[in-house]
């Protein structure tokens, strides 16, 4: 068999294949974008109707079943507090776990075990996290339903996401930078704090934001831990609170049109909050990145 050599024109067969595959790739992209755009479209067009000052500043207290008006202030406060508390618990633990896995674990037994359990935790259905907090925190320890209990459940869901994404980012930091720092006589912990983490900072922030976005929309664990309320409760440690996902869930289950409208607006608000948080994270990354100064 002889191998054909020499410079030849592009064959028709390859040109056709190129076109066909290109077409398929564009088609796949279009199909992937359809649900995204339609969800956004539905939420925005249906949610804008009630997206007003009253919605953002009032609760559902003393709003009758058929009454229009009312708002989600109590749910917005609840979601913000719960997600903030969950982040305060999950981000430091997740970050330190990732630092251990990448910088200290050396693929030893303990680090492989942690990796394994983190993988399992990633797959835990959110209702299970809620059930766990309900069973342990509320039933066994006798704590009340509260925003904090919800935050505990959310932090269980956040932690593996933070660990995984931070781990990936830390592994991307070139070893040469660690060695450069060691060679200057900088202790390992300072190298991690001052060289490794800042280098991976942008990626870590993105990962944390993904985790926040994921738990901000969780409904099932909140259902079992923060309970329901129509009133404003600003104290996340005491008494039932509300959350936006719960609000949407509750309102959409009611038969009245005014409630359905409120549910759509609640969904829109939730999307806006997550988008806003993402924007803030982008700003922080941009502000911290060396390219800005360059």
């Amino acid at each position: 068999m002889t191998v054909q050599t020499g410079i030849r024109p592009l064959s028709v067969g390859r040109r056709v294949k190129d076109r066909a595959v290109q077409g398929l790739v564009y088609l796949a992209f279009a199909i992937a974008v359809v649900p995204l755009v339609s969800v956004l479209w539905m939420v925005i067009s249906n949610g804008l109707k009630r997206f007003d000052i009253e919605f953002l500043t009032h609760s559902m207290r003393n709003i009758g079943a058929r009454d229009a008006g009312g708002g989600a202030y109590h749910a917005i406060i609840g979601t913000l507090e719960q997600v903030l508390l969950a982040s305060l618990i999950a981000v430091p633990i997740g970050l330190l776990t990732a630092v251990y896995l990448v910088e200290y674990g050396n693929g030893g037994r303990l680090s492989r075990m942690i990796s394994f359990f983190v993988d399992i935790m990633t797959g835990v259905p959110s209702i299970v996290a809620g059930l766990f907090v309900l069973a342990f925190w509320i039933l066994v320890l006798g704590m009340p339903f509260s925003g904090f209990a919800g935050a505990l459940a959310l932090s269980i869901l956040m932690m593996p996401v933070v660990v995984r994404s931070t781990e990936e980012m830390l592994r991307l930091v070139p070893n040469e930078l660690r060695e450069a720092s060691f060679a200057l006589g900088v202790p390992k912990w300072r190298t991690i704090a001052k060289v490794v983490l800042p280098t991976a900072f942008t990626g870590i922030v993105t990962g944390v934001m993904l985790a926040v976005a994921r738990v901000a929309g969780e409904t099932a664990p909140l259902l079992l831990t923060v309970f329901f309320t129509d009133s404003i409760n600003e104290d996340p440690f005491n008494g039932p609170q509300m959350g936006l996902p719960l609000y949407v869930f509750g309102q959409s289950g009611l038969p009245q049109d005014v409630a359905i409208d409120r549910a759509w607006t609640g969904a829109l608000t939730l999307i806006l909050i997550v988008m806003l948080l993402n924007l803030v994270a982008r700003l922080i990354s941009w502000w911290r990145s060396p390219a800005k100064r360059g």
Partner: protein
């Protein structure tokens, strides 16, 4: 400032693989010592044992003695961090910290090790950049990222960063192998200046470079792939390149192998 290093019967391992075996040598202060030899003969590994950077790699360990004047670097109570503070290192590929400006890169070793006032830092940074022949090129943009410099400038930045902490010995692991001839020349000039103050050890694949910059040269070789590298001979550079005692050295420098 500069001190003598004395190595006796040193072995280094990666896990169960012995990378270098039975190395003994004396490195003179205020001079340039070059390590030459074929790839894989353990020159870089040996260099990294001199400031305890070898053991940073998981599973790597060292047997034998390294003495800096009268201190045993591998003594039971010795803090490896303090060893690295005393014996600085420049790597093959320039590796400035990407998140830091030029100024912060040079000040990194000082800042990460202790408290210095801004004026102290200013003084040391300027002095170090001048010492690395980089001051005139960067003095107007000290707050720009270090990663924005050219390769040769980055390597000089790394040298400035290494000498800013005032080490007694400076180890250089093929510092010019990623650089063009002009940057290489700049660094070689710099090495000749730095030896007034520091003890310098340089690993190089470039024999002309060893001949140009070093006072003494050590030739490393390994019997076969997978065998540990050994020190074949070490002498005045002029003697190694004109009249080596070992056949292997002569074969290597005349280009008959390696």
């Amino acid at each position: 400032m500069a001190k003598q290093i004395e190595v006796s019967d040193l072995d280094a391992y990666y896990g169960s693989h012995k990378a270098i075996e039975g190395i003994s040598m004396t490195i003179e202060p205020r001079s340039v010592t070059a390590f030459i030899g074929p790839s894989g003969c353990g020159k870089s590994t040996f260099l990294r044992t001199l400031n305890r950077m070898h053991e940073v790699i998981p599973g790597a360990r060292v047997e034998g003695k390294v003495r800096l004047e009268d201190q045993d670097l591998y003594g039971a109570n010795v803090d490896p961090v303090s060893v690295r503070r005393t014996i600085g290192m420049v790597f093959q590929r320039p590796n400035p910290f990407p998140t830091m400006s030029i100024f912060d890169n040079v000040a990194a070793g000082l800042r990460l090790n202790g408290r210095f006032s801004r004026s102290q830092l200013d003084g040391i940074v300027e002095e170090s950049l001048k010492g690395a022949n980089l001051w005139n090129e960067v003095k107007t943009r000290l707050n720009k990222p270090g990663a924005g410099l050219s390769g040769g400038q980055q390597q000089r930045l790394c040298i400035a960063r290494a000498i800013a902490v005032r080490p007694q010995v400076l180890l250089m692991d093929e510092p010019c192998s990623a650089l063009d001839p002009i940057s290489t020349l700049a660094i070689e000039d710099l090495i000749s200046q730095l030896k007034q103050e520091f003890t310098i050890v340089i690993v190089t694949h470039n024999m002309q470079q060893a001949a140009r910059v070093s006072d003494r040269t050590a030739f490393f070789n390994l019997a076969a792939q997978g065998q540990p590298g050994k020190l074949i001979e070490m002498d005045e550079t002029s003697r190694i390149f004109t009249n080596p005692t070992q056949k292997a050295t002569e074969d290597y420098i005349t280009g008959r192998f390696g």
